[in-house]
Amino acid sequence: MTLTNERIQQKLTEKFGESVSGFNEPFGLLSFEAPKEMNLKVLQFLFDDAELKFQFLTDICAVHYPDDKGRELAVVYHLHNLVNNVRLRFKVFTDIQKPDVFTATQLFSSANWMERETYDFYGVNFVGHPNLKRILNVDEMDYFPLRKEFPLEDQTRIDKDDEMFGRGGSVI
């Protein structure tokens, strides 16, 4: 029997009721969200259920929406059911002032470094993670560089001396 997106949505709503919301299917990939306190419950249910079997964690990453007050950070899980070959996307949103989200490392060993990377760039504090420290950036860094408040350098700035880079002398 093939596992359809409708069936997954039905099973999730049966189990969690109103808590799971925002179902849509961009490009055929079922996508939904849940409150952040429930992320482990949802992941565990998706993992254990005999029909769903979402036992392969494809990816974890975060997204920063600075204008969405109280839900600034989204943690996005991409899961894959390899038996029926179905993918889904699961999001939890958290307040940037208190970015605590439960770790998925107990369920997936692969979550270890993915969560460290997410912490490194967005500062999501994965509660219960065995070794939550920076992974790609230097340990001394005291900010989270992929957040939107750190823009890349303005390419039209003129106060910089580019002489050493072959782009003419100083402008000012």
């Binding site: 991409h78 996307r89 060993s109 692969s110 992974i135």
Partner: protein, 409 residues
């Protein structure tokens, strides 16, 4: 004058310590890349290890947030630089999915030729390096001239060799020249013999088998739990291949098998990669035959008709008003990208290479995340090498095919 020397103060407990700490890397000739392993050794046995990565982190995901689509392609080159065309095309296909562009069949087949050549180039590097690390240098030098031939084919198509920046959204920048096809034929004729000889050198070699069998093994369950994909997962016995499970770029038109191993050890990884090279050769042969079936105007098709995203020819830009406008709009990122979230993955040489692209309708991605297979499976290295000999850990590292560029992004 010994008394005048400053004595080194050792940390507390280091005299009584029974194990040795060894820093393997960040720049060690045996690691084939920039990453550090802090090993705790009991004699030559590894008690525990800790990995440090990020030495060549270049903030690709941040950079991508202010670049229009075409400026992101060169970034993807530098992920797994042993098979850049797969990354480039994976990225272009992600854009095509978001922009709802259908590519003509001929474009798909040309792409498959290049992607499978890239897979062969990547696997032959990895496997011959496993050979070098076990003490067999010949194989490495022997297959290298065929990687050179593959690079010449890339060069014929896009002008560069390692970081290729090949193709466009919608297809290729130009049609394949006759020289490209001649070189491809040469490769298809000669490489099977070379690969056979390469296999003769290793597959049943007593020394090689003793060194690789039973070392660095992982069970199927652990490999899945660790998020393994690609040859490393297949060596553990799971036949997951993105080309088959979620066909992209018309892979469904081709007939090929997925080689699998059983123990997930270094030998199985080596054998799976060898098997995949044979499959890739067969896919290229099939694709080449399909390409030759296109006649007349159809044989000239090398891109989809999407002027709003496909960069026009340079000579047209200089002589035609419309081409100049499109060129300007594309370069300046003035063409509209629809809002949306898309995840697209391709079977990279190391496994599932995913692109998670969020567009808010602006000129650049709102967020772009790369799922790099290397980064995800390297965390298993500690478990793979626990209790192993140091020299086996080196082979485990090379047979996992760790590419620092992909690891650090």
């Amino acid at each position: 004058m010994v008394s005048e020397h400053h004595h080194i103060t050792l940390p507390d407990g280091s005299i009584e310590k029974q194990t040795t700490t060894l820093n393997l890397g960040p720049t060690h000739p045996a690691t084939h890349g920039v990453f550090q392993n802090i090993l705790e050794l009991d004699g030559e046995r590894i008690v525990s290890s800790e990995q440090t990565v990020g030495y060549i982190h270049r903030a690709f995901e941040k950079l991508a947030e202010r670049r229009p689509l075409y400026q992101i392609t060169p970034i993807t080159d530098r992920l797994n630089y042993c098979s850049s065309p797969i990354n480039n095309m994976g990225w272009h296909m992600t854009c095509e999915k978001l922009l709802n562009i259908q590519t003509p069949k001929r474009v798909d087949y040309l792409r498959i030729v290049i992607m499978e050549l890239a897979r062969i180039a990547d696997h032959l590097i990895c496997n011959s390096i496993v050979g070098v690390d076990t003490g067999a240098f010949t194989g490495f030098l022997y297959v290298m001239q065929y990687r050179e031939l593959i690079y010449e084919i890339y060069e014929e198509i896009c002008g560069s060799r390692l970081t290729t920046n090949i193709g466009r959204v919608g297809g290729f920048e130009r049609n394949f020249s006759n020289t490209a096809f001649t070189k491809l034929e040469k490769f298809l004729n000669e490489y099977p013999g070379v690969l056979k000889e390469f296999e003769n050198l290793f597959n049943r070699n007593r020394i090689f088998m003793d060194r690789t069998q039973g070392t660095g093994g992982i069970s199927a369950e652990r490999a899945l739990n660790y998020g393994f994909t690609g040859p490393n997962l297949r060596a553990a016995g799971i036949d997951y291949d993105v080309r088959v499970h979620t066909p992209y770029c018309s892979y469904q038109d081709f007939d090929f098998t997925i080689p699998v191993g059983s123990t997930g050890d270094n030998y199985d990884r080596f054998m799976v990669r060898n098997g995949e090279m044979w499959q890739s050769l067969s896919i290229i042969n099939q694709a080449y035959r399909k390409i030759q079936e296109f006649k007349g105007e159809e044989a000239e098709v090398y891109h989809a008709e999407v002027p709003e995203y496909y960069l026009p020819k340079k000579e047209d830009v200089y002589t035609k008003m419309e081409a100049l406008i499109w060129h300007f709009k594309i370069i300046m990122g003035e063409t509209a990208i629809p809002k949306g979230e898309v995840y697209h993955s391709v079977e990279g040489a190391n496994g599932e290479l995913g692109f998670y692209f969020i567009s808010d309708g602006g000129r650049t991605p709102y967020r772009l995340h790369f799922r790099r297979p290397c980064f995800i499976y390297y965390q298993a290295y500690s478990e793979l090498t626990k209790g192993a000999m140091l020299s086996d850990a080196i082979i485990t590292m090379s047979s996992l095919n760790l590419i620092a560029g992909e690891l650090d992004a």
